[in-house]
């Protein structure tokens, strides 16, 4: 169990590197590693409890992603219109 839990923990961390949310993570781990979503969700919640600040910051950052996308789009747009 320990090892398994550790694996799930590791996998979740990798998903976080990809800026995934909990649901996306559950989905991905189930699809790619055959881990029951309920297990992923439980480990995620426990990790969240244990690393509260991190997850708070993480969520805030994730909220900004749409605005980042928009900004990126705008910049690209601007660049494409620029002629030198």
């Amino acid at each position: 169990m320990r090892i398994y839990g550790m694996q799930v923990h590791h996998l979740i961390e990798e998903c976080i590197v990809f800026n995934m949310g909990k649901e996306e993570c559950m989905d991905a781990l189930f699809k790619h590693a055959n881990i029951k979503p309920i297990i992923t969700s439980t480990v995620w919640k426990e990790l969240e409890k244990e690393n509260k600040e991190f997850f708070e910051a993480y969520e805030r950052r994730r909220e900004e992603i749409p605005t980042e996308k928009e900004t990126a789009r705008r910049i690209r747009d601007l660049l494409s219109r620029t002629t030198i």
């Binding site: 090892i3 839990g5 590197v17 029951k36 439980t42 426990e46 990790l47 600040e53 992603i65």
Partner: protein, 429 residues
């Protein structure tokens, strides 16, 4: 690994004296699964000592067929001629058992045909015997001719074939397992994939079992290492740049990192493309950091994962991990790989890397992940590769180094949710 115990155990009653002697001379005692050889005053210790027990668990080894024919060719003439002599001499010299049943633990290759044939005085058997025994013997010690045959021919009735898991053999084994998937690997399929004829399914099965158990130990060590490195990052390291919150790459060094967000590739002759390949390559052989830089295929019992310096208090997951071999020799090829990975987080994943106005965030918690340019839409392949990487290379450090939750908490939560069996699928996770 081996069933060794500190010089105390002697299973054979009829050879206490000898075993003690052995224990003193060799520093350990041997726990053979069969009756201990009945030693006479031979002084032929090399023959007496059951090296197969030293180097492998009985029952899962076979003589290495590739080498044997040569040995056989050399030996045969001697043995064939001496077979009858062997038989006689063995019965007289070989310890007391008339059937040659008990002793001959000193010889590795055991085959029942040997015993029976010896009785018959068949030369054919002597061949087999020599073949079985000498294959290993010859490689390790010069054959002492008939005396060696004695041991061999005096084999027990039980079949005890030993496989010498050479690095090459093990590499093929690992390849096959990787291909099938560690948890799904079935000995019969592994055997097919390996295409080695001298292995029985049983050999592969027991080797697989050991391999899996070894992997678990590595997982444990990795977790501990990750925790340790995380702490290191927090307390010792300077931020030389990393991706800030907006995803801009402040550190040119990170630029080559793949967009899947992994630390820079290992230093040994690696450019970004190999790393990409690395992540996308499903057949990565456990035990070889990358194909390019594989220095020598480690036979896994000797293999030690790179984070040999991990010393932090073990995270909850691994508090019961007993396995702690540490190797600081520079020969392990993993060090470069891991070193690079460890190096990356310090540079890239420091709490200070994140603009303070963005995150109110205590450094204690060590946001240690290297952030490549934010991949807002991680591709399926990269996710798959990352996940596969975790499963196949469990020694890799955790990218973030989050504090692991208490196992009990997780377990109770799981039970609350109605999950009874964890892990649900794996038989040995």
């Amino acid at each position: 690994m081996l069933a060794l115990s500190p010089a105390s155990n002697s299973t054979g009653d009829d050879c206490n004296g000898e075993s003690e002697f052995l224990a003193t001379s060799c520093g350990f005692s041997i726990e053979p699964e069969e009756e201990f050889p009945d030693f006479a005053d031979h002084g032929d210790l090399l023959d007496i000592i059951d090296f197969d027990d030293l180097f492998g668990v009985a029952g899962d080894v076979l003589p290495d067929l590739e080498i044997d024919p040569d040995i056989l060719a050399g030996d045969f003439s001697d043995h064939m001629n001496a077979s009858s002599t062997v038989t006689t001499t063995s019965s007289s010299s070989e310890k007391t058992d008339g059937q040659g049943e008990t002793n001959n633990k000193g010889v590795s290759g055991k085959g029942e045909e040997v015993v029976s044939k010896r009785d018959d005085g068949e030369t054919a058997v002597a061949e087999t015997v020599n073949y079985n025994g000498d294959s290993d013997r010859k490689r390790k010690y010069p054959s002492s001719g008939s005396s060696r045959n004695n041991r061999i021919t005096n084999n027990e009735g039980k079949r005890k074939v030993k496989v010498d898991w050479t690095p090459e053999l093990h590499r093929r084994f690992v390849e096959a397992v990787e291909q099938l998937g560690v948890e799904k690997a079935v000995p019969s399929r592994i055997l097919e994939l390996m295409g080695v004829h001298c292995l029985t399914r049983h050999n592969v099965a027991s080797h697989l079992q050991k391999y899996r158990s070894h992997r678990k130990h590595l997982l444990a060590r990795e977790a501990e290492a990750a925790n340790w490195t995380r702490k290191r990052h927090i307390y010792g390291l300077d931020c030389t740049g990393a991706n800030n919150i907006n995803g801009r790459n402040k550190n040119g060094w990170l630029a080559p990192a793949p967009t899947i967000g992994f630390p820079p590739p290992p230093p040994v002759a690696v450019a970004p493309p190999p790393v990409h390949h690395h992540h996308f390559r499903p057949l990565h052989v456990w035990g070889h950091p990358t194909v390019d830089q594989s220095v020598m295929p480690h036979v896994w019992p000797k293999h030690l994962p790179p984070p040999s310096t991990a010393m932090a208090s073990p995270p909850f997951w691994v508090s019961d991990s007993p396995y702690w071999p540490r190797v600081h020799n520079g020969t392990t090829p993993y060090l470069p790989t891991v070193a690079s990975r460890f190096r990356a987080p310090p540079v890239a994943g420091i709490p200070q890397a994140l603009p303070p106005h963005h995150l109110v965030y205590k450094p204690d918690h060590g946001f240690g992940g290297a952030r490549a340019p934010v991949d807002l839409h991680p591709s399926k392949e990269s996710v798959d590769a990352a996940i596969g990487d975790v499963l196949t290379r469990p020694w890799l450090p955790l990218p973030l180094g989050l504090k692991p939750p208490a196992v009990d908490g997780v377990m109770t939560e799981l039970h609350r949710q109605g999950v009874s069996e964890v892990p649900p699928t794996a038989s040995c996770a």
